[in-house]
């Protein structure tokens, strides 16, 4: 374990600004894409009904191409679904405060770690109060988040100067910086080496429990889904539909040893069967 990881464990009580999670409600959500040339449509998602309670951690798995990422983009309000509705708390997906952690290095290379974390806070839609958008206010808040994800001392580094794991920490801090009602993560650890992934899984659990943010986590790693989530949503192949929702009863955060427990094994095997039985 790296020394900066160990040092960071002492900063557990730094964050107070996170508002806590909202309820997420999907009813009959479907998505069709017009196909070029043929004039036909491709149905990516169909009839998705899902309720995520405040503070819950949901993982979405499914065969590749089943529309996991599409579903996440719909929840984020980046695209509108062609059928059904999505509600985040009292608002719609298009206006909700959602933090998004992307798979690849999506940090802005021209911004330092600190200013990347501050990005969401600088936006008018996120921070309507002009005073709170001021450089100083934003900087102070961003610093808190950087501490939370264990990146203290790297505020003024540019993304290419830090490792992939640290970049994803910064990504997570940026998502949390807007005090999201909903945290969406699209295979955030898939590009990391196994050891870094494990470290970040533990970190993410701690942060998710501490901030009590409703989280939707998309992954192709079934073990990761069972390890992290309260419930694992298994989608079918295209068009993506909810095949089954598995509950993982052990309270979070879970120790690494959970991954050798009977409950974990049983759930993972069950999920594996469901994903691969098409």
């Amino acid at each position: 374990m790296r020394a900066d990881m160990a040092a960071e464990a002492t900063h557990t009580d730094t964050r107070t600004a996170v508002a806590g999670g909202a309820r997420l409600l999907l009813s009959g959500v479907g998505m069709e894409f017009p196909q070029p040339h043929t004039g036909q449509t491709l149905t990516a998602l169909e009839g998705i009904d899902l309720e995520v309670t405040p503070g819950e951690f949901i993982a979405i798995v499914g065969p590749s191409g089943c529309g996991k990422t599409t579903l996440l983009r719909l929840i984020a309000g980046m695209t509108a679904p062609t059928a059904g509705t999505i509600a985040v708390g009292d608002s719609t997906a298009a206006s909700a405060r959602t933090g998004f952690v992307f798979q690849q290095a999506s940090l802005y290379p021209w911004r330092t770690v600190l200013r990347n974390v501050a990005f969401g806070m600088e936006l008018r839609t996120r921070t309507p109060n002009r005073h709170e958008r001021s450089r100083r206010a934003v900087r102070r808040q961003a610093q808190d988040l950087i501490r939370l994800v264990g990146l203290e001392g790297f505020e003024d580094y540019y993304p290419h100067q830090i490792s992939g794991g640290m970049q994803q920490r910064a990504n997570l801090a940026r998502a949390l910086a807007i005090a999201p009602e909903l945290l969406l993560m699209d295979e955030p650890f898939s590009a990391l080496d196994a050891q870094t992934r494990e470290e970040l899984q533990i970190e993410l659990q701690r942060i998710a429990v501490q901030t009590n943010t409703t989280t939707v986590f998309v992954t192709h790693d079934i073990g990761e889904a069972v390890y992290l989530a309260d419930r694992v949503v298994i989608l079918t192949g295209r068009p993506g539909q909810v095949r089954k929702v598995l509950s993982c009863p052990t309270p979070r955060p879970r120790p690494l040893a959970y991954q050798v427990s009977d409950e974990f094994m049983a759930l993972r095997n069950a999920a594996w069967e469901l994903v691969h039985s098409n």
Binding site: R2, A3, D4, A7, A76, G77, M78, A94, S95, T98, F100, F102, Q104, A105, S106, Y108, P109, W110, R111, F119, G120, E122, L123, R124, T125, R126, E152, G153, F154, E155, D156, Y157, Y158, P159, H160, Q161, I162, S163, M166, I178, L184
Partner: protein, 281 residues
């Protein structure tokens, strides 16, 4: 040079292993070597030139030797004649270049950000870029007179297109993830413009500006050819008409030096404005 860049924050010991050094040493040393080799090459070229004019008894009306050029340079600069030409041309260039840069960046960004702006302007930009627009210079002299305005305008016309077109490719090359982040954080159009499109395409903008320097300098010379009382282009034209080849070279060398200085200046500015690119090797 080493002190001008911001120092890295003292890294946590365990992390320094993971962090690349901010200033790769080899590259700096490489720069120094390339500088001296370049100097030696230019010096060698001048010596060959001088030697050839002496050995082959070249008529100075046809080709002036470096020493003759240096002599002409000294003569003109001591009389203050050269400063007059230089400042006239510089002023025309500066005004034209600034206008072209600002307009070019704005046009490129708008074309890249808004589809309909692009549909409407792209045929114009591409057609005019391909047009040898310098051929239109006499027209601008007719419209705007022999004075400052026409010359600055010709510089604008020459420098605008490389800036606009490079800015557009900068916006087009923005990583999809960068736009996704802005979209997922629900940035509005202005914020996406200012916080993503502009900084993300800065490297391309600087490439465009560097290309524009060369074209802008061509602009001032050619503009002078169609009527002027002062300016580096006028100096060259007059030198050629009076068979004073040394004068032609003085003007040309000054223009080349101007190009080098301005391009180097732009590189320095780029390094300041885009510090994240400097240490990406």
């Amino acid at each position: 040079m080493t002190t001008s860049r911001p120092a890295a924050p003292a890294p946590v010991p365990a992390a320094s292993r993971r962090t690349r050094p901010l200033r790769p040493f080899g590259r700096r040393r490489g720069n120094r070597v390339s500088f001296w080799v370049g100097c030696a090459s230019i010096l060698g070229g001048l010596l060959l030139w001088q030697g050839a004019t002496v050995v082959f008894h070249v008529n100075p009306l046809v080709l002036a030797s470096p020493t003759q050029i240096a002599h002409a340079f000294a003569e003109m600069s001591s009389g203050g004649e050269l400063t007059g030409h230089l400042t006239t041309s510089l002023r025309q260039f500066a005004v034209g270049f600034v206008i072209a840069g600002a307009l070019g960046v704005l046009t490129g960004l708008l074309m890249g950000q808004f589809r309909y702006v692009r549909y409407a302007t792209e045929p114009w930009v591409l057609a005019l870029y391909a047009t040898p627009s310098i051929g239109l210079a006499p027209l601008f002299i007719i419209w705007l007179g022999f004075g400052f305005a026409a010359k600055a305008f010709i510089v604008v016309l020459m420098a605008f297109f490389p800036v606009a077109i490079n800015t557009l490719s900068g916006v087009e090359s923005l990583a999809r993830e960068w736009k996704d982040v802005a979209a997922s954080y629900k940035a509005n159009a202005l914020e996406r413009f200012v916080k993503v499109a502009l900084p993300g395409s800065l490297p391309y903008i600087f490439t465009g500006l560097r290309l524009a320097v060369g074209r802008g300098l061509v602009g001032i010379v050619v503009a002078d050819f169609f009527g002027a009382q002062k300016g580096l282009g006028f100096l060259i034209l007059q030198g050629a008409q009076q068979f004073r080849t040394a004068d032609v070279f003085v003007g040309t060398i000054l223009l080349a030096a101007l190009g080098v200085v301005l391009t180097t200046f732009l590189r320095t500015v780029e390094r300041k404005v885009c510090p994240w690119r400097t240490d990406a090797s």
